[in-house]
Symmetry: C2
Subunit: 406 residues, 2 copies
């Protein structure tokens, strides 16, 4: 007997036929003797529709009301899934975020789970009842519904797996696992059997939209064995595990890219102590997440050019913040560009393999692609390039690191 959490995304519960299909998977696990917790998203399209209503109602909407509105989607799916399971003879009941409850912070719209009361759930699981949890939602200290941000049902699933000390957390989606890169760009992309938490975290935050980043962080912290697999097949997916659980580690596990970036350059800033703080302090105050940063000494030696990237949707706001600092900073010009893409090679193997970065630079140079900004971490190298080179760069790197399927 194992205890498993199974999370089904929006396309897996898009209509009643799909819900019946996933219920069949749940029943199979129950029949095999497993204790099963099901976490469901809203039917595909529903959350977008509800978010659209809210945005139409007011451009500056109250996030507490936003949460009440959008959480309704998962509520519907949870109830329907419980009914379908019961119809198949499986003992099941739905649980909404406020019912257990799932306690979260008060950051409406992007709350974090703080604590899950699992006492009642443990009791029911031990009696053989399947718990169908409405994903994405909890209850804040103000006794109002909170939501966890888009993709939040992944985090709900992992949080329950951690709280219930589940043997495995299966994330069912419309792809059959994690790939070495986006198969829509590289037809030679391969499904990975294993990937480490650290790599998955980089993949998720660098644009591979398989899992919500926070869910991977949580899985890593609590060492929840995670599986990403398709709800439309019975094939095993990709296991996200500890590094020591992977016998043979390749240099590089995957190539990710993200088009959600914009580049801003402040030219000819007088080079004096405190200038970085004067730039990035106000951006942080405006809640803008700065990612890559480079600073070059200018030709005259007394000034510097500062280049950084921000989320594309924050570009205009960022430029406005910088223009407001013109008198204080005394720079010459602000330039901005949203025709950029961040391409990253990721792999825990690079800790023990030299030359990963230089191979990347050489491969891109060979294709005539100019690198605008570079940033590195222990397990990834990212470069910012013009977005017209996206496919060319990703394909060349996939081949260079020997990731192409045989």
């Amino acid at each position: 007997m194992a205890r498993v959490v199974k999370k089904f995304g929006g396309t897996s519960v898009a209509d009643l036929d799909r819900i019946r299909a996933i219920a069949t998977k749940v029943k199979a696990a129950v029949d095999a003797g497993d204790q099963v917790v099901v976490v469901v998203s809203a039917m595909s399209g529903v959350t977008n529709k509800l978010v659209g209503y809210v945005q139409d109602a007011s451009p500056l909407y109250d996030l507490r009301e936003y949460d009440a509105v959008v959480a309704a989607g998962e509520q519907v799916t949870a109830g329907l899934t419980a009914i379908v399971l019961q119809e198949m003879g499986v003992d099941a009941r739905s649980w909404l975020g406020w019912q257990l409850p799932v306690h979260t912070t008060d950051a409406h719209g992007l709350a974090r789970i703080e604590d899950i009361d699992t006492e009642l759930l443990e009791e029911r699981l031990n009696q053989g009842q399947v718990a169908v949890i409405a994903g994405f939602q909890g209850i804040g200290p103000d006794n109002r519904i909170t939501t966890l941000g888009r993709g939040g049902s992944d985090t709900t699933a992992v949080a329950f797996a951690a709280a219930l000390k589940a043997d495995r957390c299966d994330i069912y989606t419309d792809v059959d696992g994690v790939y070495t890169t986006d198969p829509r760009i590289v037809s030679q992309a391969r499904k990975l059997d294993y990937i480490t938490y650290e790599e998955m975290l980089e993949m998720a935050s660098l644009g591979a939209k398989v899992l919500q980043t926070r869910s991977v962080e949580l899985a890593m912290r609590y060492r929840v064995p995670l599986q990403v697999l398709s709800s439309f097949s019975d094939e095993p997916g990709t296991m996200v595990v500890d590094e020591e659980d992977i016998v043979e580690q390749a240099e590089i596990s995957g190539i990710a890219y993200s088009s959600d970036e914009a580049k801003i350059t402040i030219e000819h800033v007088p080079d004096r102590p405190g200038v970085s703080a004067a730039i990035f302090g106000p951006l942080a105050d405006a809640n803008i997440n700065v990612d890559m940063i480079v600073q070059n000494v200018g030709p005259e030696g007394d000034s510097t050019d500062v280049t950084f990237t921000v989320p594309r949707i924050d570009m205009d706001r960022s430029v406005k913040v910088i223009k407001g600092l013109e008198d204080e900073l005394g720079y010459r010009a602000v330039k901005f560009d949203d025709h950029v893409v961040k391409v990253s090679v990721i792999g825990v193997g690079m800790r023990s393999h030299a030359g990963i970065a230089s191979k990347m630079f050489a491969t891109l140079a060979d294709k005539g692609i100019n690198i605008q900004v570079i940033s590195t971490s222990e397990i990834k190298v990212s470069v910012l390039i013009a977005d017209e080179y996206t496919e060319l760069a990703v394909r060349a790197l996939h081949t260079a690191y020997k990731l192409d399927a045989a």
Copy 2:
């Protein structure tokens, strides 16, 4: 300053433009210094869609899960209405059934409100905040969402008006008041300025679908002044009030009809003590609501024919119950007919006016309409006739009682 509850039905909140229109009405009341509680239904069509999902999921669905699913509709409207009010500069917040909470019985799908905790609400109303209540829902003793049956938001509104000792409860709908009869059948039908609780109760339970019957019962018990009016105009509607508040009372206030009836006749039942109990006990046990009953002594004097009506949807079930009693009762035959309609004349005035019933019978006889069953109460006379005479009968009665518009 008055304290008012304003309830808006599904067509009044069908989309964001409609929600903006009703929010304008709410703002006008707030600007005039009123304390306002808004009760909203689901957007029109949403509840039917959710009920359809549930029925598709399982023919014998768990009513607790049904409640979780269908309550989502009002949750969405409540949040959106609060946002739209805020956008207009009105302080507002949404409240879901479980948040105050609205305590109900555990009869999922058709729960009754037992108690509303209004402490927090009173506080907010006194601070000038508009409360937007998700109608139709509450929380049961099992800590799960309950719903109050179709049309339940009317009952939510009246229950809040009673609990908050509101000065008035306005029920906004897509018609501009209560009419002397269905204007689709009688073009001469007139809008009533006033109607008594007792009459409204008969109208509601006899097929005039303006208000949920239970909401009228509740308004009558707590003497909540109720107004039925259109959300699409600014005209006053129909006030539902105490009898003593109506200066000049007509003999008859209205003509109602209901096609939701079916007639069952048990022929030649041996006439012995306890036979009625033997018939109607098992029907009650099967949760079938018997309405009109007549019993005639048969020609031989030792047997009787029993005729009664049941809701049309329960006809087949009722016949089955009666057939199961064949050995015990020893009757000759069971006949059933769902091509019947119940037509009723209603008015508290008939207490002090003689000849109301005989005028009804004469009017119908004059048109050659055969009366199959009669039942009366203090303020109404109902007859069961063949449904092909519906329009003819309603029009003739409307004229006979001088209800036609001048």
